[in-house]
Amino acid sequence: MSDQEIAVLKRALQRERLARKKAESILEQKASELYDTSQELKKSNLALQSLLREKSSELKGVFENLVDAYVVMDLFGNVVKMNEAAEDLLGFRMEEEEVNLMSMAHPSEVDRVIQAFDKLMKEDSVANFEVRIKTLRGESKTVHINASLIRDEQHKPIAAQGIVRDITELMQLQKQKEELLESLGRSNEELSDYAHVVSHDLKSPLRSIDALVTWILDDNKETLDETTLANFDLIKQTLEKMEQLISGILEYASATSMDQKMLAVNVSDLIHGSIQMLHVPPGIQIEVDSGLPQVMCHPTKIQQVFQNLIGNAIKYMDSDAGQIHVGYQERDSHHEFFVKDNGPGIGQEHHQTVFKVFQSVSPKSSSSGVGLSIVKKVIEFHGGKVWLESVPDKGATFFFTLKKDL
């Protein structure tokens, strides 16, 4: 072998040796990188496992502590998982029995359950489905169900889940409430009819008495003395008062009849309407604030309220320079109105009783004693309040409120 060949071989060997060392060092480095990466992976794997455990335990907690019954079914309606609330409601245990959705449907509801299950499969969810079921203990219950499909990562449906709420009691209460309301409506109607009948029946004997008294007077005008005539006059006045009282009963009974609809009305129009219906003597000034609101109410009823309050202020006015002021103040949730006068005022001891039926404070014969009680009844019907402030001899102010969101 020539020297040259030996030199070439030596160089080739040297190159191979260097290449091997280089490769070893690169591989060493790669191995170390791999080790590091594997350590990192191990760490994150542990973290993920712990997160998974944590989430699983959270989910298990939610599942078990859910107050409502939670049921998971396969796509054929076989119950595959349920929580304790569901076991209580449906009356069986997963470990003991295999149960299908259809076996829980009340016989009369089978068609609706099939339809709802079809809808769930087609539309992914069923909301607010109320249905009667028969539990495995044989009880009939009404339940409210919200259900949805569970899909896998490929979006393929794999199961269905539902929250089932027992509304049996709620439905019974609802039914009771409806029955109660209906019976209440009937009693109210009967009461109103009764008031009409009574007032009519009471008025006719009154009219007969009135006619008889008139005849006796006409027949015996010449022979009766002053005292007797005066007594006859008193009888007639009492009869008139009686008639007013009976009319008052009727008026009070029909004060909140529901014949009329709630409307948005301009209060200013109502007030001016009621003033027109009243006889205002020359010595009395009525001032009405401007800028009154529109309110939702039964217009004729509220007009009647203003008419009664302003009418009272006029009726009992004892001053030659009578002042009546109708005003308004806006409150957060209410409209507040007032009717203020400079009449005789009302003593503190009467502030509550004036609103009671037939509790007229005044001896005036023209008072039926129902006006303010009608006011109170109408205002309360509108969700408002009525009260008064007064200093005797200085006047009285009647306040009332109307709810804004009627």
């Binding site: 060949e5 070439v8 160089r11 080739a12 190159r15 260097l18 290449a19 280089k22 490769a23 690169i26």
Partner: protein, 179 residues
């Protein structure tokens, strides 16, 4: 450039021209690596350029022919190292047309720093494929050699025309017709 391209090149030179020629071209080149390569290393492209140029000077074979021959040889390396990869293809045009969209995507997963040429498919029919090659390395002849071997692998034949769009060979249009 990946080390395997160098080690395979040196093996081929030694096989075809002998150890003396291999030693000569290494000694003639100014190589930062000293001509000592490992398949798992990465080296300057400049070193390959010098080796090929010097081999051409020593043997009198043109650089283009040397690169094409090397390309034909290099396919065998791929066949040996990645057989399952080639098995995914039923025909040569299917393989060649998915260099950019599939093969290079996978290569980058293993070698994120690999500097790869671009192969843009301009036209593909049952029997023809037109692709635009783009690379600052201008190694289209190497690519041509790989293409020939691809057809040989599938037992098929083709006429491959390489039209230089840029004079330096950095952009070349390949028109491949199956025969």
């Amino acid at each position: 450039m990946k080390g395997i391209v160098f080690t395979e090149f040196l093996d081929l030179v030694e096989e075809k021209f002998g150890l003396m020629t291999l030693d000569e071209i290494i000694e003639k080149s100014d190589l930062p690596s000293g001509g000592s390569y490992t398949a798992v290393g990465t080296y300057e492209f400049q070193e390959m350029l010098q080796l090929v140029t010097n081999l051409s000077a020593v043997t009198g074979v043109s650089v283009d022919d040397l690169l094409m021959t090397y390309g034909e040889h290099f396919f065998k390396v791929l066949e040996k190292s990645y057989p399952h990869f080639l098995e995914q293809y039923q025909d040569p045009l299917g393989l060649l047309s998915s260099i950019e969209s599939h093969i290079h995507v996978e290569v980058r997963k293993i070698y994120p720093d690999a500097e790869l040429p671009k192969f843009e498919v301009l036209d593909l029919t049952e029997s023809t494929l037109v692709m635009m090659y783009r690379s600052s390395r201008a190694l289209y002849k190497f690519g041509l050699g790989l293409m020939h071997s691809t057809f040989a692998y599938f037992g098929e034949k083709a006429e491959i025309e390489a039209e230089k769009i840029e004079e330096d060979g950095s952009v070349v249009k390949f028109s491949i017709h199956k025969i």
